[in-house]
Symmetry: C2
Subunit: 404 residues, 2 copies
């Protein structure tokens, strides 16, 4: 027991120091003071190697800055708020591109000065836009911005539950509609974001939240022995590689989304499902016993995935695993969950952080060698690393406070 307190305290110190250093890295290197918004393609030593601005990452950075500003005392710094506001202004000005009808689509990528270069036919740019606007409005008190976030949310719900034609995907006879786990996960995340501390909004989105949870649970397949990334709308397994695909890090992320939901709704059944199916199973199938770390993709029948990067070790599945195991432990106090947290912790902190220039490497080979050495890229920004560190620090604070 004492041993464990000492270890958890060490862990908290380390995570806190990591978070400080990661925040400093992005404050120092990512701000575009000329055109607004954030550079996200940032090399090993902080140098910008591409000026494109990926909208997911703009939205996530605004959200993360505001969340840190709002909930962690030592980050309630004017420069963080100013940076978040500047990022929000850039997004509002440039991210929304006109669409046919009265629907707004967000671009996927913008030039440095805000011209759209690519629009995806999915909902995710809009999701991160909502996250950013809602969190920013909580810090600034801007009610119009908060309203805009809710309006965009309504449109997302319409696309997902009523009519997706506004996304611009052609309907093809062989392309059967799919329940891709990312969609209910993102919507559940937005329900939690928009509902926090707001009873009326919480009631408004309660049915949606419960629908998201059941959509996520449809991904429990093979008699409860596997989480599959894509299932049919009726919750059945899909044929071929698409149907057999597993993404352990994504399942673990879904796990802690469900754990949060279970805690908020005092639902032990969902908590149990989250831990058994979305935390333990993906770890057991996804951990590489030979070299350590979580695989990126797997095929549930053991075929080789067709994704070239399937065996690589990415930073974000490890970030999600840390949050998932620590949250699962904090809710249940099962020692096995803490053991697994520390196993992921050892791998993560001995492989991903760059002790020379700060921040984390994002992409390792199966064997654990750095394969891509940049700190930010089209899909790696100021999000998974600081969110993981912030959440783990906060859970550790609570755990250690209990033990006092």
């Amino acid at each position: 027991e004492n041993m464990s307190v000492v270890k958890l305290e060490e862990c908290r110190q380390h995570i806190r120091a990591q978070l400080d250093s990661v925040v400093e890295f992005w404050l120092k290197y990512s701000h575009d003071t000329e055109h607004g918004g954030f550079f996200t393609c940032i090399g090993r030593d902080g140098k910008v190697y591409d000026e494109l601005k990926y909208v997911w990452l703009q939205g996530r950075q605004v959200w993360m800055y505001c969340r840190l500003y709002r909930s962690v005392d030592r980050f309630r710094r004017p420069e963080i708020l100013e940076a978040a506001k500047a990022g929000g202004a850039f997004l509002r000005k440039f991210a929304r591109v006109s669409n046919s009808g009265n629907q707004w689509k967000c671009a996927f990528c913008l030039t440095r000065d805000g011209k759209p270069t690519k629009v995806q036919r999915t909902i995710f740019s809009e999701c991160f836009y909502v996250m950013a606007m809602d969190e920013l409005s909580r810090v600034t008190g801007d009610e119009e911005m908060q309203l805009e976030a809710e309006q965009m949310m309504e449109q997302l719900i319409y696309w997902v539950r009523e009519d997706s034609s506004g996304l611009g995907r052609p309907q093809l006879p062989g392309d059967v509609p799919t329940n891709s786990m990312a969609v209910p996960m993102m919507l559940l995340c937005l329900v939690q974001q928009l509902s926090e501390g707001r009873l009326e909004t919480g009631r408004k989105y309660a049915e949606l939240g419960s629908w998201c949870v059941s959509q996520i649970q449809q991904h429990i397949q093979r008699d409860g022995t596997a989480i599959l990334e894509n299932v049919s709308l009726a919750g059945a397994e899909l044929p071929g590689c698409l149907g057999r695909l597993q993404n352990p890090g994504h399942a673990l992320e879904a796990g802690w989304f469900l754990l949060q939901y279970a805690a908020q709704n005092h639902n032990k059944e969902i908590q149990r499902t989250a831990i058994e199916k979305f935390v333990q199973l993906p770890y057991e199938s996804g951990w590489d016993e030979e070299y350590g770390g979580l695989f990126y993709f797997l095929d549930v029948d053991g075929h080789c995935p067709t994704q070239l990067e399937w065996s690589m070790k990415l930073w974000w599945p490890h970030s999600e695993a840390l949050v998932a195991f620590l949250m699962a432990y904090s809710q249940t106090k099962q020692p096995k969950l803490l053991e697994r947290f520390f196993k992921v912790y050892e791998y993560t902190f001995s492989h991903f952080p760059d002790s020379n220039s700060g921040e984390w490497f994002g992409y390792l080979t199966q064997e654990g060698k750095v394969a891509l050495d940049f700190k930010g890229g089209p899909f790696k920004g100021f999000f998974h690393v600081p969110r993981c560190l912030y959440m783990c620090e906060s859970i550790l604070d609570d755990l250690l406070a209990e033990k006092d």
Copy 2:
């Protein structure tokens, strides 16, 4: 001199045996006798692990079967012709999906029974459709099919040179039109395909061929020291990662396309450019001195590419390099080109072929370990390996005949 003849003869024997074995593999495992067309997702031991039919690979397999049937005596076998015809019938029946206006788009992927699952907003499915139909019509004498190939070619030319809006890409202010090397390469390949042995067609496409050659040459950048994969329409370097991207295997493939063009047009200047710029340079920048093999992607300024698979060793760049160096040697007899051919040859044949189950692995780690163990997948079919072996065998036949 004698030494070199012995070595070339050994090489020819080996390549001939490899080609026989690769052809047998696909004859045995890839035919869908129920729905027509070819399975392309084929595992290490020949088992189909996904029934989706990728249109690029359907077209390429039809083309390759017909080309072997037409030009290599030992492959003039009824079963090869029948398989090609069945593949052609499947393509004609299912690959073309209706488009707005009177334009035909081809699907990118079909279900086993021919329903489209995905349509790309590029020209490549249509290109492989043209290749397949033209080569098949040469074997069967089907003039209507030949006409269809030329009609589709006219549409491709219209999309590339007049108006690309039929491809369905939205025009975005930040998305500047780009000369992507794949486009003039594919069109040049089709010009050569359609013109072979046809004087009138050759005259019809002469200007287009010459335009393609100049479009390809626009990719010589940095004062002639690098081939860049994407340039502006005016032939200038583009900003960021997109502009700095190098794909050595693709440049080498362009190299032998240009060498063929130079030989057909008795143009020594293009031959020299092809060898210096598109064969030697990509080899020199793309070869991994540490582990051997050609990198998949590189950044001309030495930044880390953002493609997760950049350092992997893929089968097809090595196939293209073999053809490029052997053709360059056969045209010039420069010993250095033969040396490099043998260097690529050693790496290729000691790493890619699977001596247990036949065919080649497609995807190795930087260090040369098999990373994905299937023989066919969404982008690997009956094409690069047999085309390389067929072309090398044919060039070696000519070289050895000269030396007699």
